[in-house]
């Protein structure tokens, strides 16, 4: 079953983190991604540009609204994601716990509902 691992962190803190701390962390991310690719758990994933680059789109009453920023102001912001294959929630939790960002921020683990099997045409 697939799970989306959403990596949240406090962007302001992240921005203020010195280079000497960030560099080893990026190395850890690289090692983690490589490891879960090798183990067959990795389906996809990306770091995201910060919320300062975000735009939120809504349609209400047929009217389009395009606004600057993330959908809501939150204490922690979405920094990246991993899409993984895991046999159950415990395995997904294990994978999430190994993400370097788990030590500083929060990893939300969301199950992806399996595709319903389409009836034959």
């Amino acid at each position: 079953m697939q799970y989306l691992l959403l990596v949240y962190h406090n962007e302001a803190q992240f921005a203020a983190t010195p280079y000497e701390v960030l560099t080893p962390m990026f190395a850890e991310y690289f090692a983690y991604t490589t490891a879960i690719q090798a183990s067959g758990n990795w389906i996809g994933g990306n770091r995201l540009e910060p919320t300062s680059t975000a735009t939120t789109v809504r349609i209400r009453d047929g009217k389009r609204s395009v606004t600057d920023g993330p959908f809501a102001e939150t204490k922690e912001q979405l920094g990246g994601y991993y899409l993984v294959e895991a046999k159950d929630l415990d395995e997904a939790i294990e994978l999430a716990a190994r993400i370097p960002g788990a030590r500083i921020g929060s990893i939300e683990v969301r199950p992806v509902p399996p595709m319903p099997t389409m009836p034959p045409a």
């Binding site: 046999k87 159950d88 929630l89 415990d90 939790i93 683990v109 199950p111 509902p113």
Partner: protein, 406 residues
Amino acid sequence: MLATLIRLLGSFDAAEEATQEAFATALASWSMHGLPDNPRAWLVSTGRHRAIDRMRRREVEARRSGEAARVVDWIAESEAVRPLQEARLLAEENAMEAVQDDRLRLIFTCCHPSLAEETQVVLTLRTLGGLSTEAIARAFLKPVATVAQRLVRAKAKIRDARIPYSVPNRKDLRERLDAVLLVVYLVFNEGYGAEPRETERRALCEEAIRLGRVLLEMLLTAPEVRGLLALMLLQHARAAARFDANEDLVLLEDQDRTLWDAGAIDEGARLTAESLRAGVSAYGLQSAIAALHDQAVQTSETDWPQIVGLYDVLLQLQPSPVVELNRAVAIAMHRGAAAGLALVEALDGLEEYCPYWAAKAQMLAWIGEIERAGEAYKRAAELACAVGDHAQQRFFERRITALRHG
């Protein structure tokens, strides 16, 4: 049986439905044919007498409670119950281990960390405890619809997030076991705080003790499992003496000890010794402290130095201001109120904790600081009221009145 069915049917929901249908069929059949032989024959054929005794005990319990609950009555007469035949085959190979393993899986699933604590409690009571949704609602003073919805959501989460139906692996076992024990203790405490007239809520104490025994039966040999059961038995042993004829709280030191359950105290003390022999644990230490209280013939004979010593060890294991507070109370009993008060006043972070103010008030009263004692009792009463503990609230108000009248 629910546990075995879950494993065979691969889904919590389906198993529950199967047992409901099987149960309904069983009821219908009983009224026509009387109690069937099959389940007993099945058990007897494996020669597992313990299992039979357990089933018999449950049958008696179930009949007493008016509900023919989770007993061996699911007869293979309905479509939905066909898996039961497979269960029977499996059981004939390995009767007790299979059932116990399944119950272990069940309790660890119910207490999975991804479920909210309240949900863990309700789920455990519903599945392992066998309490109906209505009974749980009555015990916790919640609307039935709320409890029902919580159960529905929990099962949906188990299904949709694929919470595994398994015993955790070795490295997670300790932590996961702590969660299970906490749920059982939460159930016990819910009952312990109930007033005499809240009979269903009070019954949660017995339910928790029963769950504690089930955990022990499931070959969970960690010292904390015995320790928790011992603690609950020793606390519950005092039940008959804790409230007076007016349904008002009676403090430990004022209780009529002849009303204490000597059998429960003996069993609790024995389990405590076994627990501590197997290893030091927080519940084990707490049960030892409870044993010392319960074994004293009168309050004045309580072994306070040993209790203080046990709190010292407990603090090493589980440093917390609450434990410090309890230790301070023991110090006050052992070396006088001034010594205890000095410790209490040095504590941080307990301003919203009712027992903190209660202890402080009592110590202040002892050293003659009547005004401050009254204020502390007032704060304790407010906090007790805030959590709906009206028996305690009334107790503190009586103390305030007593102080005023010298």
